[in-house]
């Protein structure tokens, strides 16, 4: 058991199956799909609320997605801790700012990588709320329920991602 937990990586099929089972428990115990992007909207709402409680309460979106600490928000905290423990147990925990593939193409400038990450994150947060879900909420939980919107969203996530990654790094298949 311990050896298994300290392994550097598991088969993607085992990991996928595990996520599938996790979605059963989310539906059964919490009556929710496994989605991650709502928490970011809640966090933004908490900031708005701290700036002006009255104003944030009048914003229609935060009446829909209430800026409170709940299942969806603690999910993100759990994600951070779980991944940390997994990395720590396998001895792969490393603090890095510029990932190797990015460094190879654009150099090791941490400020450049930070600016790009901030811009990318902004688009992700905007796009996820616009489409009503992310890679987990639409891409896994939604598609497995055979939701039409989720299949279309997942296709658009990857179509957009493949095109833009190709424009940034060069298309490997051409």
């Amino acid at each position: 058991m311990i050896e298994w937990l300290t392994m550097e990586s598991w088969s993607p099929y085992i990991v996928g199956a595990g996520i599938g089972v996790l979605i059963w428990t989310a539906f059964l115990f919490s009556d929710r799909p496994l989605g991650c992007s709502t928490a970011y909207a809640k966090s933004a709402g908490m900031v708005e609320s701290a700036l002006s409680r009255k104003k944030s309460e009048q914003m229609p979106y935060y009446q829909k997605v209430t800026p409170t600490v709940d299942w969806q928000w603690t999910l993100i905290i759990g994600l951070i801790i779980g991944a940390f423990l997994s990395a720590y147990l396998s001895g792969t925990f490393t603090v890095l700012i510029v990932p190797p593939v990015f460094a190879e193409a654009f150099g090791t400038n941490a400020i450049l990588r930070s600016a790009v990450a901030l811009a990318g994150g902004l688009l992700l947060g905007l796009g996820a709320r616009w489409a009503g879900g992310c890679t987990s909420g639409h891409g896994i939980s939604g598609t497995l329920q055979l939701s039409l919107a989720s299949w279309v969203a997942a296709i658009c996530f990857f179509a957009g991602g493949i095109i833009v990654a190709g424009l940034i790094f060069g298309f490997s298949f051409i």
Partner: protein, 185 residues
């Protein structure tokens, strides 16, 4: 029912969210998708780890969810999409996916595994979601409901029984995973 009581217990749900996230983060890190290079590799079509994980999760998740649904234990959570919301939002998301190199869940997990750029991405996501909340009333009036989809689910769209579509999708996904293995991807 015990599940109903649990679902309504706010404090228990806060803990369940934490536990669920913990397991999810552990799995994502072990799966290697907390690694920027693996995610960009998927978008450049050189590394199929992300797709393998997602497709296996869909197969296993789908079987359990539809069995529990037919037993009356769970209900589905689907909503109607539209071209203005789903397609436009999906393409914005895809662009951000390639620029950041993580998605909302894997970014949190990547930060846990030590990636500081993922934390910066998370701040960006909260800003992006905040911008959406600010412009939501205008978007809702103008673009979000444009080109409403004709159905909520694929079986509804095709007019085919859900069970048949479930079996069809499972066969399709297993075939696709098998094809990836044959191609050595």
């Amino acid at each position: 029912m015990a599940c109903e009581r649990l679902r309504c217990n706010a404090r228990a749900q806060i803990i369940l969210g934490l536990v669920t996230g913990f397991v999810f983060g552990f799995l994502l890190q072990k799966g290697g998708v907390t690694n920027y290079d693996v995610i960009i590799g998927q978008l450049l079509l050189t590394d199929f780890t992300v797709v393998k994980i997602m497709l296996s999760a869909i197969v296993v998740g789908m079987i359990g969810i539809f069995l529990m649904k037919s037993a009356g234990l769970v209900r589905l959570h689907v909503s109607r999409g539209s071209i203005g919301a789903t397609v436009v939002g999906g393409l914005i998301f895809g662009t951000g996916f390639a620029v950041l190199g993580y998605c909302p869940g894997t970014a949190a997990a990547a930060f846990g595994a030590g990636a500081v750029d993922a934390l910066i991405g998370m701040v960006g996501m909260a800003i992006g979601a905040g911008i959406f909340a600010r412009i939501y009333p205008d978007l809702n009036r103008s673009i979000l409901k444009k080109g409403l989809f004709p159905a909520d689910t694929i079986p509804e769209l095709l007019g085919v029984r859900t069970g048949i579509v479930v079996v069809g999708v499972i066969i399709l996904i297993i075939g696709l995973l098998y094809l990836l293995t044959i191609l050595g991807l």
